[in-house]
């Protein structure tokens, strides 16, 4: 009984962290058809922003939930203005340019913070269920992810900005023809997506030691989750994160964490081979 509870929490945590990692990338990809390969570095910078803020005496939750998204969002804004906006519609070129940006950020952060591991302590205590120890912070991550997805859903569904955003996702040319400046929509989207990445990086920072190259562990997972999810933002995130998170955790428990990771990647390859347009292109057509 205790074990199954622990496993359930771990699986939920696996799914939630995957969705959290991918949210920022999914927003940018869904809206702008831009694959931001610097996404992992945005998360890494979110982590560093949090640590710096905490060291300056800011409350850790304020640092994670407000400071990090703002800082990374602003960095994203600058990047969008300087680089990305020149490359709209050139999918492969944006991928290459953002890959360059990711190297640039790794280099910059190495110069500023040094190539050593920095970490902050988990702000929530663990507790035990029977004989098993549970990391209380896992619940926080699950909670944050649910809030985040619900927040995006409400934003898209009820607000005017959300309506424009949904329109742009469906047909950006039509939205432009209706008089909504794609330039401003894209700018806002990239800010929002970067802020999400920063938030995710900040929230996950206490669980991993931060090094400038930390982004690398996120980008591949985020990339495959988003691509496998397909065109529908929320449904895509939930379904592919659900699938991959489940596969990952099951194999982690059954064999080892490394096999868990490998199983996740193999699942991604198989899924893309079977459903090249992503899960939601097939099963949730037209949803968000």
């Amino acid at each position: 009984m205790d074990l199954s509870f622990v496993i359930l929490v771990e699986i939920l945590y696996g799914i939630a962290s995957l969705a959290l990692i991918s949210a920022g990338l999914a927003v940018v990809f869904g809206m702008m058809k831009v694959i931001n390969l610097a996404h992992g570095e945005f998360m890494m910078m979110g982590g560093y922003a949090t640590i710096t803020a905490v060291n300056l005496g800011v409350n850790v939750f304020v640092a994670m939930l407000i400071v990090a998204p703002l800082v990374v969002g602003l960095i994203g804004l600058v990047v969008e203005r300087l680089v990305i906006r020149h490359l709209y519609g050139r999918l492969v070129d944006t991928m290459l340019a953002t890959w360059g940006l990711s190297l640039f950020f790794v280099g910059s952060v190495t110069m500023i913070f040094g190539n050593t591991t920095t970490s902050i302590t988990t702000p929530i205590k663990g507790f035990s269920v029977g004989n098993y120890q549970i990391n209380g912070y896992n619940f926080f991550i699950i909670f944050i992810t649910i809030c985040l997805l619900a927040g995006i859903y409400v934003l898209l569904k009820t607000t005017r900005a959300g309506l424009i955003a949904r329109g742009t996702m469906q047909r950006s040319d039509i939205a432009a023809a209706l008089g909504y400046s794609p330039d401003r929509i894209y700018m806002a989207t990239f800010f929002f997506g970067s802020a999400l990445s920063g938030l995710a990086g900040a929230v996950l920072a206490p669980l991993v030691g931060l090094v400038p190259t930390s982004g690398g562990i996120y980008i591949a997972k985020a990339f495959i989750t988003v691509i496998a999810g397909g065109p529908s933002l929320i449904a895509g995130l939930i379904s592919s994160a659900g699938l991959f998170g489940l596969v990952n955790q099951v194999f982690t428990f059954a064999i080892s964490p490394v096999i868990g990771e490998v199983a996740l990647l193999v699942a991604a390859v198989i899924l893309l081979r079977l459903l090249p347009q992503g899960v939601t292109a097939r099963f949730f057509k037209g949803k968000m």
Partner: protein, 345 residues
């Protein structure tokens, strides 16, 4: 490109041989060897991406696979000729299987990128976790994060004790690069190569002509992987150790950057880009002021923004504009975007 072997080829050969002989006076042969090997690796991606339009984010997968094949085979066999052949064949075979799987699913652009990237990651994670003594192939322990050191290095075929290293190894690598270069040149002139370029330009049209695009892409992909395998067989002999780092994303990124900077759709570009950037990195490694990665990043961004076709095509068109007679100055749609693997994703 001219249709038949001619003056251009002779000139290229003379230029290549001259470069091979002159360069050791400027740079140490130890450094030169690895520049030449990277040139060959750059050319392997330049062939499949620049001429075949297949964007592969996982060229490092073939690089790593070839390296491990060589190391394992060399330890088990105790000489180098057969391991060298295997380091070409195993990646080529692997690419053929992977390619058959991907191209039959009509996966394009981004999805191809994702899958090749993921396969590289799988191999990286796997080799990293093989530290335990149970991971053995024959006599060879895979060694996890530490890699495999101490394998038999290159010898004169048939004479396992006559090792080739140092300066002779450089000349072996340089000649190998020349051979590969002319192999690629020849390949691109055959109907196979010309149809590969057709596929890059318009896949649908080529299949409507009656060509099996999937089989051809798979074959080209395998040839590219084989060239990467040859490069890494030589690399293993130069480094005398193979590690999981060969599979890393950083390695894949670098190969792609070489091609972009040098110029896609050319044969010289990727070689030049690889050797030039690797040398730049070597020089930068000797100073500590500015981080190496930062500069690589800036170079990539700048090239995508300002010189998306790369150095060699830019210089060529500058040359044509300045010196050639009767250059048709016309519209030229889409081709730079196409060359990248399409803008319509």
């Amino acid at each position: 490109m001219s249709r038949t072997a001619g003056k251009g080829d002779v000139a290229a050969l003379i230029f290549g041989v001259a470069l091979m002989l002159i360069m050791p006076m400027l740079i140490s042969t130890y450094t030169l060897t690895v520049l030449v090997i990277y040139g060959m690796l750059g050319l392997s991606l330049g062939l499949i991406w620049g001429f075949g339009g297949i964007l592969c984010f996982g060229q490092a997968a073939f690089f790593g696979l070839g390296a491990y094949t060589y190391a394992v085979a060399a330890i088990n066999i105790g000489e180098s000729t057969l391991p060298m052949l295997l380091s070409i064949l195993v990646p080529a075979l692997f690419a053929a299987l992977l390619g058959a799987m991907m191209f039959c699913g009509r996966l394009t652009d981004v999805y191809l990128g994702v899958i090749t990237l993921v396969v590289t990651l799988i191999l990286f994670k796997f080799t990293n976790s093989t530290a335990g003594p149970q991971y053995k192939i024959g006599e060879a322990r895979l060694g996890g994060f530490n890699g495999i050191p101490g394998f038999h290095t290159l010898n004169v075929p048939g004479q396992p004790n006559a090792y080739i290293w140092g300066e002779p190894l450089y000349y072996v690598c340089a000649v190998a690069l020349l051979v590969v270069f002319f192999f690629v040149t020849w390949l691109l002139r055959t109907p196979f190569g010309r149809i590969a370029v057709g596929i890059r330009e318009n896949e649908t049209r080529v299949s409507l002509m009656g060509y099996d695009v999937r089989a051809r892409k798979t074959a080209l992909f395998a040839i590219g992987a084989g060239i990467a395998g040859l490069a890494v067989g030589l690399f293993a002999n130069w480094a005398e150790i193979v590690t999981p780092g060969l599979f890393s994303l950083g390695q894949s990124a670098e190969i792609i950057i070489w091609c972009i900077v040098g110029g896609l759709g050319t044969r010289f570009g990727p070689i030049l880009g690889a050797a030039g950037l690797a040398y730049l990195k070597f020089m930068l490694g000797q100073q500590t002021m500015v981080d190496n990665t930062l500069i690589t990043g800036i170079i990539l961004v700048m090239f995508v923004l300002f010189l998306p076709k790369g150095i060699v095509p830019a210089v060529t068109s500058l040359w044509t504009v300045s010196f050639a007679k009767r250059t048709p100055k016309g519209r030229r749609h889409r081709s730079s975007a196409r060359r990248r693997g399409g803008a319509h994703g």
